[in-house]
């Protein structure tokens, strides 16, 4: 290795060490200042120890989120200073048009005013209407992302609950099954998305396996990746393969934590399997399910790698995270990208709040009862 190679590592390493020292110095100063101001030792120590996070929080969260909000009201392409445009970005995104269709055969572009493109077409008998938007990619991508979340989150939870219940049946070699089922989740998602693209490709494994069925049914092998109606399936399969095992291991730990006495008590009351599942397992497992629901909903709305490796047909849109990334770093529309990112942030907050709101109705915390 010559210095040319090290030349890219060493400066970063030097700055890494410098930042480390810098943080230590700041912590020391913060501690001394607090003590000088008469703060008790315990409180001063605690605040000092969380300093690294607090500084990071202020820089990487508070400052960047604030800047992002500001940028969402500007037009900015990196070359000229950000130009304040008020709500223009948002009103462009929310500029939707609904146009009636005179006949089911009429093209959407003929029905919609110029510069508006089709987002969703609804045909009712011999007519119907079409929804168009100026930022049609955003709405198509929002539709795809939500559809993906609505499909993968419940399917993933049901599948992983099934596997967890299975593994909880006093099976032999439990450790082996756990390790095996968890494996897809630790594989690099880059590797697995490429693998699934290969499996779903026109002459890939899937069509190879199903070739006899296609022949029997007399249909051509579908092109999963380019057919707008089928492409979502590829992503759903990729996602489920990646998470069902991982989530089931988490749920299994929850199942193992259910006190055996509860089942014994249910047995004495003459409860059958279903009643035990319904009245003991589900309520006791609800905190784990809740954790699963929250994390998988947030993750489902932020698909990135998969969209980077599979070109999705335009008419379907793409995943929001990838769309925003493209808008910002390929088209250099920093303002518009920030506006979209903010809509996404609010969407995630709203959905999470909804899940949390609903939790009081179905999540059962054992400790909460004891506390009363």
């Amino acid at each position: 290795m010559n210095l040319g190679v090290l030349g890219t590592y060493l400066p970063t390493l030097a700055r890494y060490v410098a930042v480390m020292v810098g943080i230590a110095v700041i912590m020391l100063i913060a501690y001394r200042v607090q003590r000088f101001l008469g703060v008790k030792q315990e409180a001063a120590t605690g605040r000092t120890l969380i300093m690294p996070w607090l500084i990071g929080f202020l820089i990487f969260n508070v400052f960047t989120i604030g800047s992002s909000l500001y940028l969402s009201f500007t037009e900015y392409n990196l070359f000229r200073a950000p130009e304040w445009v008020g709500f223009d970005n948002f009103s462009e995104i929310f500029d939707l048009q609904i146009a009636p269709l005179e006949s089911a055969a009429q093209r959407s572009s003929d029905a919609l005013p110029p510069r508006y493109d089709e987002v969703q077409r609804v045909t009712l008998g011999d007519g119907g209407f079409v929804i168009g938007a100026r930022m049609e990619e955003f709405w198509r991508s929002l539709r795809l992302t939500l559809l993906y979340a609505v499909l993968t989150v419940p399917l993933g939870i049901v599948a992983s609950l099934g596997v967890a219940l299975l593994l909880n049946q006093k099976v032999r070699l439990l450790g082996f099954w756990r390790v095996l089922y968890y494996m897809p989740a630790i594989l690099p998602s880059i590797a697995t998305i490429l693998l699934w693209r290969w499996i779903f490709s026109g002459s890939g494994l899937l069509n190879g396996l199903f070739a006899p069925f296609y022949r029997a049914a007399g249909i051509a092998a579908p092109s999963w990746l380019t057919n707008p109606d089928l492409v979502l399936i590829v992503f759903v399969v990729f996602s489920l393969w990646g998470v069902f095992g991982a989530n089931s291991v988490i749920l299994l730990a929850g199942l193992k934590g259910i006190p055996q006495e509860l089942y014994e008590a249910a047995d004495i009351d003459g409860a059958d399997e279903w009643a035990k599942f319904r009245n003991v397992t589900l309520p006791m497992l609800s905190p784990s399910l809740f954790y699963n629901l929250v994390t998988s909903t947030i993750a489902a709305l932020q698909v990135f790698e998969a969209a980077a490796f599979i070109d999705i047909p335009d008419s379907v849109g793409t995943f929001l995270n990838w769309l925003i990334y493209q808008e910002a770093f390929n088209f250099r529309n920093m303002g518009m990208a920030s506006a979209m990112a903010w809509i996404m942030l609010l969407l995630i907050l709203a959905l999470t709040a909804l899940v949390f709101r609903s939790s009081s109705a179905w999540v059962f915390y054992q400790g909460a009862k004891d506390a009363n």
Binding site: Y16, P52, T64, L166, W177, V179, L194, S201, L209, I250
Partner: protein
Amino acid sequence: MTTATARQRDSLIEQPQPSQRRFQIRRIIIYALLLLGAAIVLIPFLWMISTSLKTEDQLFTRQIQLIPNPAVPMNYVRVWEQLQSINPNMTFWRILGNTLFITLLAMFGEILSASIVAYGFSRFNFRGRNLLFALMLATVMIPGIVTRVPGFLVWRQLGLLDTYDPLTWPSLFAWGPLYVFLLRQFFLSIPREIEEAAIMDGANVIQIYVYIMIPLIKPILLAIGVLAFQANWNNFQGPLLYLSTPEKFPLAVALRFFDQSLSKEAPQWHYMMAMATMMALPILIIYFLAQKQFLEGINVGAVKG
């Protein structure tokens, strides 16, 4: 253990009772389902390895070949020759070095800072502690893309685009709230008496942390180390955004570079799967070696969360 005794008992009884037959059928169904699950996990994975050992002609055969004949391990070398044909500096060692450099620095920063912050959150009372901790957990919900644009602009202003800085030293600011959360749970489970004895002996916070707490939290530190290694090794979004010179790429972005430049028109799946396997291999080895810590680390968060 209970299964073993149950089976022994079963074999002692000659005539299976109806309820026992039901029990046996149930067992068979359970294991059949478990095997089905194993097939779902393993077949795609084996297909990746199988493809990585095929020649280009073998890729699109009509008959499905799980075991390639002949097998060509040379794909693992040739894929790098292919990459070097576009950029002579993109050697295997360079790309591996990049990946390790980013991964290890970020991992070390995460473990160091998260354990210190978690110690502060779990052991010391101060006003605003719970509020700050809740704030920290809430940041999990913020999609990375919101902070990406301003973040990019800041690194650009600092002149640190196309360096490893954005991917490494910000980890020193405890950027992974999940790790802090896991460590805090662990700290809370350690009895306070242990420290109190040390305080009586006149030890200060740094001494207590280094000599008493670190040895006690070693298992969870190892678990977090494994989780952090995996997350940083697999990281794609950060390097994709901040690095632009191909020879600075880590594996994940190099794989995309290969996909986009060499494989766009006619995908060279044997090479791509070879690269994907190479990327997965270290993670798999660590996973199998440290599976106990790994699964524990995940479960601490899930059950107590």
